[in-house]
């Protein structure tokens, strides 16, 4: 990452500083930003949570977290820089004494570290404490310099609750102060989707229904719910992944070129895509729930056997859908999307399947192996782009085989790539919201989710309907086979 300008001085305040997200992602990301000298000249980190502990204990725990989770090697000088202004305040959100303690600590930080009253608040807290924490920050708003608020997912449970959250936030803050995070948008490949489409003359002219047969978007996880039944049971795959990551990837794939790359322009185009989407009929959506099986060689239990999950749970751990974007560019071009847990392989990909060449003169020679061109955008595990093209096998004759031109970022796997959270925290420090989700987008996403979930109440399910480690339910294969197409196998 290279910076055109350095972020202004500010205090970074993490609500939920003893939580998993802070330990695994946020502090390691801040360390990597410090490692590259990308943090403001004057900054301080204030951790806020429930647990009673001293600042010294908090700093020691965060040091351990950096050693364990940061992508960069541990350097004492970088750590000293990061931890110099690191403090911890114990509070119960909504409690006035606690609120005062946070305010006092921030004033001290301003005085000691020159953070000028500016604040980046990161709300890494459970949804039920959201109102209290937003209100607490809002009430202090007028005493502070600029304020930016990063809000984690889940952003609501349905359209009504998302609108209520938006109302709450707007009561205290302007839309340009609110940064709703979807960490997928911080990934290099996802941003590269924009570069790929709009900076390369070769793709944009063919990026439409005339040349593209269909698009497949896959967000597959090998993991189960990892002890998070409390969160997952009421959410399911549609709220955990479909509403946010999947629809974001779809919007980026389908959007029209924005006038420029400012937050407003990019987000306006994405909203247009979401607004043009039909509600899929019941036959175009498949739900699934994993049974027992084998993943990475080891036996794993069914969803209903996971700790904290009801033995007759109807929560879906898999969703597949055929979606349409009803505009000039995409009319009649299906977007097949699927997301699920405990699948055979972890992969997030966008596959653009181009139409077969009209009269392939090499068809007979190529046999089964000549497939239509596919542009594969890999978001994880190894970020990159590959293009499958038909090429002549060297030697005599005109044998054509599918060849993959494969491009991995950074010369290695994840070790060299910035973590999504680094990019997003830095953007927020700079006040750039292009990679965050706007109010309109969130509401459009929930409208679609509500319309799908509404149909489920009438439906009967037969869960579990796929084995852990398999590619998903059979009904998902049937969904795409009906159109004489098939899911990419890997």
């Amino acid at each position: 990452m290279q910076l055109a300008r350095r972020p202004e001085s500010c205090a970074i305040v993490i609500f939920g500083a003893t939580g998993d997200l802070t330990r695994r992602k946020l502090i390691p990301a801040l360390y990597s930003l410090a490692y590259r000298n990308l943090l403001p000249h004057h900054f301080a980190i204030l951790g806020v949570a429930h647990t009673a502990q001293t600042s010294a204990t908090f700093v020691a725990t965060m040091k351990k977290a950096v050693k364990q989770h940061a992508r960069d090697p541990f350097r004492q000088d970088v750590w000293d820089l990061l931890s110099e202004g690191m403090r911890y305040v114990e509070t119960e959100f909504g409690n006035e004494d606690g609120n005062d303690r946070v305010a006092e600590a921030l004033e001290e930080v301003d005085a000691e570290h020159g953070t000028a009253g500016n604040r980046l608040y990161y709300l890494a807290v459970p949804p039920k404490t959201f109102t209290d924490s937003v209100t607490e920050i809002g009430e202090r708003r007028h005493r502070e310099g600029w304020v930016r608020l990063i809000v984690e997912k889940p952003f609501g449970h349905d359209l009504a609750s998302a609108c209520a959250l938006n109302d709450l936030l707007h009561h205290w803050f302007r839309e340009d102060e609110i940064f709703r995070i979807d960490h997928y948008l911080g990934k290099e490949t996802v941003q590269n989707m924009l570069a790929l489409r709009f900076a390369n003359g070769i793709f944009e002219p063919v990026w439409n229904r005339q040349f593209i047969d269909h698009v497949q978007i896959t967000v597959a996880e090998a993991m189960g719910i990892e002890g998070r039944a409390g969160f997952y049971e009421p959410a399911g795959a549609i709220r955990d992944v479909f509403q946010n990551h999947l629809l974001q990837l779809l919007a980026l794939t389908a959007m029209e070129p924005p006038i420029d790359f400012t937050a407003d322009a990019v987000r306006t185009e994405k909203v247009k895509v979401l607004k043009s989407m039909h509600t899929p009929g019941p036959k175009s959506v498949v739900r699934g729930q994993y049974g027992a099986g084998f993943v990475e060689g080891l036996e794993v239990p069914s969803y209903r056997e996971e700790d904290g999950v009801s033995p007759d749970s109807l929560t879906e751990t898999y969703i597949a859908a055929k979606l349409y974007v009803d505009n000039w560019r995409w009319a009649d071009t299906p977007f097949y999307v699927r997301a699920g847990k405990r699948l055979g392989r972890r992969e997030t990909t966008i596959a653009i399947q181009f139409k077969q060449a009209p009269h392939p003169p090499f068809e007979a020679i190529a046999g089964d192996d000549l497939r239509p061109n596919v542009l594969l955008i890999q978001v994880q595990p190894d970020e990159g782009v590959s293009l499958a093209i038909g090429a002549k096998v060297p030697g005599a004759g005109m044998t054509i085989r599918t060849v993959h031109m494969d491009f991995l970022y950074g010369g290695s796997f994840r070790t060299q790539l910035p973590e999504a959270y680094e990019r997003l925290i830095l953007d927020c420090l700079l006040g750039d919201a292009a990679l965050f989700t706007s109010e309109d987008e969130v509401e459009e996403q929930w409208k679609l989710v509500d319309s799908i979930v509404g149909g489920w109440a009438r439906d009967r399910t037969n869960f579990p309907n796929y084995a852990s480690g398999s590619p998903g339910p059979k009904a998902a294969d049937d969904l795409i086979r009906r159109d004489a197409r098939s899911w990419r196998r890997h």
Binding site: E296, F407, T415
Partner: protein, 289 residues
């Protein structure tokens, strides 16, 4: 779930060391190449892979099933770098060896599925007996586009061919033993039209090669041809109705044979017909039940 991240970490470190110039890397894989390698086959498999050199840049995953009291999976990754004259970039292949102990050995599909290179075909060289495969074979067929066996590694030939036939509908299958007979098949084909009326075939060579040659001849001529055989390490002599067929000379080595099989895309109807016409399969077809 540490296996995949462990392998990614190992490969990441190796690649970082390799890409010292910091340029983005163009990966050169053309397939995922699985090798199912039960105890006793490791040395042979490694030798054959070494002989393939840079011909099939791939992610090669060698699966080493072992018995053991509890499920355990241990992986080791390495990079094979080939610098070729006249090529600006080197060709880099990844080799991942995975030891599957205990129960883990029965679920190879779930181990390799997360490691397959996106969008590329999957070939599996299945070493040793096929019949012993059971559920493991079933899982491998679930991920592989093509299964490459060598029926001369099987103890119950020709009976074992019967188990192969149902698999033709699930995956493309080829057989190194059949590929090895190609020079002899060419010689026999050159005897057309006289060979059209042949009734007896005599082969000095391995059982599998002889059975497949006979099956091939029957299926091509659509008539019964009897087979007699004398054991030899490779096919040394072939006679039709008592007449010696001219020898095609030196036969290709195991790496070259595998290399050819890795170049083939779809099903091989000639091989499938030959297998169907080997003694036992043909008998079973004639006397069902």
């Amino acid at each position: 779930m540490g296996l995949v991240s462990d392998i990614e970490r190992q490969l990441g470190a190796l690649r970082a060391a390799e890409a010292a110039d910091g340029r983005p890397e163009i990966r050169t894989s053309t397939m995922t190449h699985l090798v199912w390698c039960p105890p006793g086959w490791h040395t042979d498999a490694r030798k054959t892979l070494a002989g393939l050199a840079e011909r099939h840049p791939a992610r090669t995953i060698i699966l080493l099933p072992e018995s053991g009291p509890r499920a355990e999976i241990v992986a080791h990754a390495e990079l094979k770098v080939f610098r070729l004259p006249g090529l600006a970039h080197e060709v880099v292949s990844e080799v991942i060896e995975i030891r599957l102990r205990g129960d883990a050995a029965h679920h190879p599909g779930s181990v390799v599925a997360p490691l397959l290179v996106s969008g590329l075909p999957v070939f599996c060289r299945w070493r040793g007996e096929l019949a012993a495969g059971g559920g493991e074979l079933d899982e491998i067929l679930g991920v592989a586009d093509r299964l490459v066996v060598d029926s001369s590694e099987w103890s119950r030939v020709p009976a074992a061919y019967a188990a192969l036939v149902p698999l033709f509908e699930r995956s493309a299958i080829s057989d190194i033993a059949f590929a090895r007979t190609l020079p002899w098949r060419r010689r026999l084909a050159a005897l057309w039209p006289q060979i059209g009326s042949v009734e007896r075939l005599r082969v000095e060579g391995p059982r599998a090669d002889a059975e497949l040659l006979a099956g091939w001849l029957r299926s091509r001529l659509k008539r019964e041809v009897s087979l007699t055989r004398r054991q030899a390490a490779a096919v040394e002599s072939v006679r039709v109705d008592g007449q010696q067929v001219e020898s095609p000379g030196a036969l290709p080595g195991s790496s070259d044979l595998l290399s050819d099989e890795l170049d083939r895309p779809g099903r091989d109807p000639v091989y499938e017909a030959a297998v169907r016409a080997t003694g036992t399969v043909a008998d079973a077809a004639c006397h069902p039940g």
